[in-house]
């Protein structure tokens, strides 16, 4: 937490030089009873109890309002503002105290002002009307008592410090909230990635398994075939050697189980290549999914969505089929790629969960998730529809609230849709809405604004 230090700088603004001298005597030479006063102040304001003689005020003088303002300005500029000022009301020929106070606060709103007056130049009501009802203002009637002035100085310099401290603490707390919110968003992202990584591992491990088995089989078969070739070599090498008989050939072929190899070797190779293709596809999709750009970039949403569907394969493939209807005329849309992908992932994973709740462990039963894009005047629209259980009306209002979740403890942080809302609405000036009824599935509709150029292209095309 930020600690604000004591500020004992006081500006006396008075056209009368004798008054300055008085203040100097009062505030810069401590009275015998000063220590008791310090202790009282410490007890009252909770500050450190310091010995009276260590603690004096830094007094500066101005003889006119204008000069006072100049000093306040200069003090602010060098980062050592005054905590308070003793301000005379009557200071001919320049500004009077009220006007000076107005101007001082314009420059330094934190300045504590004690208005010193020998006459009732202004009635309190008038002062209040001019300066407003302010807690930064006190009135000291001349002739004033020394202790009174000293106590005002003690109290108001401490008040200045406490006010600053309170402001600093609020700022600290706001900063803390900001950073916690960011951390939470990051945590949700990590959670999504963690969940994904298990699924991605599965999608990589499975082809790795059968590629390995196939290669082992090929290694063995090729070994056998090479063995046959080795045995054929002598027949070719020696000119005029006895020709190989049909019986010998048959025996050789039988050792290699030729019929079996003829059937299985091409399949083993084809399936292994397909497995390699699948692994490289998911690795490529992962790489694209975690697009590092945080700035808005024109982005091919169709491709990005197809990519996210690939990354999340393991989340949906056991419970649903996915149908995509991509509008091929959709122009590139300016989005923050990483954030956009996360939104699509969150909605997609929710859709898979909703479908999974309906399908359960029923064999051979799968739900359907339909993902479509289309171009509207000025907007790109993405619809993600699931055949899940639907969202009850009574919670529909709350689904975008942070921490709202219907998932079991540990299954969701309740951040997914809150982040989707934040990304689409706040960061992209788009809209995110939900349609559907209980028992009839849910459709999430995301609309993102096209940039001017894309809009005019779309308009020209249609």
């Amino acid at each position: 937490m930020t600690e604000i230090e004591c500020n004992r700088r006081i500006l006396v603004i008075d056209d009368n030089a004798a008054i300055h001298e008085d203040f100097r005597k009062i505030l810069c030479t401590r009275l015998p009873g000063a220590q008791a006063l310090d202790e009282a102040a410490a007890a009252l304001f909770g500050g450190p109890s310091v010995s009276g003689d260590d603690r004096t005020f830094e007094l500066e003088s101005a003889f006119q309002g204008e000069e006072g303002l100049a000093r306040v300005t200069a003090a602010l500029e060098r980062g050592a503002p005054y905590a308070m000022t003793f301000l005379d009301v009557r200071m001919p020929p320049g500004w009077d105290g009220i006007e000076t106070a107005e101007r001082l606060w314009e420059r330094d709103p934190d300045l504590q002002i004690v208005l010193c007056t020998a006459y009732s130049d202004y009635r309190w009501e008038e002062v209040r009307e001019r300066l407003g009802r302010s807690d930064r203002l006190l009135i000291l009637k001349k002739p004033f008592d020394n202790v009174e002035a000293l106590q005002l100085a003690d109290a108001l310099t401490e008040k200045w410090r406490l006010t600053k401290q309170a402001i600093a603490q609020v700022a600290d707390l706001e900063g803390l909230i900001e950073s916690r919110t960011r951390a939470l968003a990051q945590a949700q992202k990590l959670e999504a990635i963690g969940q994904l990584s298990a699924g991605i591992a599965h999608e990589i491990n499975t082809p790795t398994q059968f590629i390995g088995d196939n290669v082992r089989f090929l290694q063995e078969s090729v070994g056998e075939v090479l063995g046959i070739i080795e045995r054929l070599v002598p027949f070719a090498a020696v000119e005029g050697s006895a020709p190989i008989t049909a019986g010998e050939v048959t025996a050789l072929l039988e050792t290699a189980d030729v019929d079996y190899l003829r059937e299985e070797v091409p399949k083993a190779i084809a399936q292994s290549l397909e497995g390699v293709e699948r692994i490289s596809m998911i690795v490529g999709a992962m790489k694209e999914f975690s697009h590092p750009a945080t700035e808005k970039t024109p982005y091919d949403l169709n491709r990005a969505i197809a990519n996210t569907i690939t990354v999340a394969t393991n989340e949906w493939k056991y419970v649903a089929a996915i149908e995509t209807h991509f509008d091929s005329r959709l122009p590139a849309v300016p989005v923050m790629p990483g954030a956009f992908n996360q939104v699509i992932l969150n909605i997609l994973v929710n859709a898979a969960h909703a479908v999974g709740d309906v399908v359960g462990a029923t064999p051979n039963l799968k739900g359907l998730i339909t993902v479509s894009t289309r171009t509207l005047p000025g907007w790109a629209e993405i619809r993600i529809k699931d055949s899940g259980c639907g969202i009850p009306n009574e919670i529909r209002e709350r689904i975008f609230d942070p921490f709202f979740t219907t998932k079991a403890v540990g299954k969701g942080t309740g951040q997914g849709l809150a982040i989707a809302h934040d990304v689409i609405v706040r960061k992209h000036q788009g809209t995110i809405t939900v349609e559907g009824e209980v028992g009839n599935g849910t459709t999430f509709i995301v609309r993102l604004p096209l940039d001017a150029e894309a809009s005019s292209l779309v308009a020209a095309a249609s």
């Binding site: 390995g212 088995d213 290699a256 189980d257 399949k267 056991y318 462990a361």
Partner: protein
């Protein structure tokens, strides 16, 4: 080589279950020189159908499949065919799945993909050897029980046949006077009783 045709001569039957046929096909290829018959199923449901029709010694199942999971399938197998050896070959290292497989399916081994087919085969062989020993001990136990029952019956019908005298040193006393005759009568009697049983 004619191994694929003589299924009846195989030492054991192994059922491979995975929703990805590529996985079961590739395992079959990798194991083609093994003296076992391999069956494949692409879902728990298909596996259940096969198990109800055929004798299977070992089931190796994937965990994550549409419908019933591998551990659910294996816990069903445990109940219906407790002597069938059960193993998981999972693509996902999920603690939850492993716990379920162990507790509900009482699996013999939990393998993670990608696993070396040689390791898998060595484990299958060991499991089959253990199973064979268990079956042998079960058979011997049955045999022993049958013979014990037989003896009890003989004892009931002709108690004098089984009565033995023991001298003061604990040695069996064979009555010399009765000699060979009675011993051969006894054997004939046992023979007869065993035939009746």
């Amino acid at each position: 080589m004619t191994q694929k045709s003589d299924a009846n001569n195989r030492l054991a039957t192994i059922l491979l279950v995975d929703d990805e046929p590529h996985v079961t096909e590739a395992l079959k290829r990798a194991f083609r020189r093994e003296p076992y018959e391999f069956l494949t199923a692409a879902s728990a449901l298909e596996a259940q159908t096969i198990l109800e029709q055929r004798h299977v010694d070992v089931v190796v199942s994937d965990e994550q499949m549409p419908g019933l999971s591998g551990s659910q399938l294996l816990s069903w197998v445990r109940e219906r065919f407790p002597h069938t050896i059960r193993m998981i070959l999972s693509g996902q290292a999920s603690l939850q799945a492993a716990v379920r497989a162990i507790n509900e399916g009482e699996v013999y081994r939990f393998f993670l993909k990608p696993c070396n087919p040689t390791d898998l085969m060595v484990t299958i062989r060991q499991a089959l050897a253990t199973k064979k020993l268990e079956e042998q001990s079960r058979r011997l136990l049955r045999e022993y029980q049958r013979q014990a029952a037989l003896l009890a019956q003989v004892n009931l019908n002709a108690p004098e046949l089984l009565r033995l005298d023991i001298d003061e040193r604990g040695a069996l006393v064979v009555d010399e006077a009765d000699g060979e005759g009675e011993l051969s009568d006894l054997l004939a009697e046992i023979e007869l009783a065993m035939k009746r049983a």
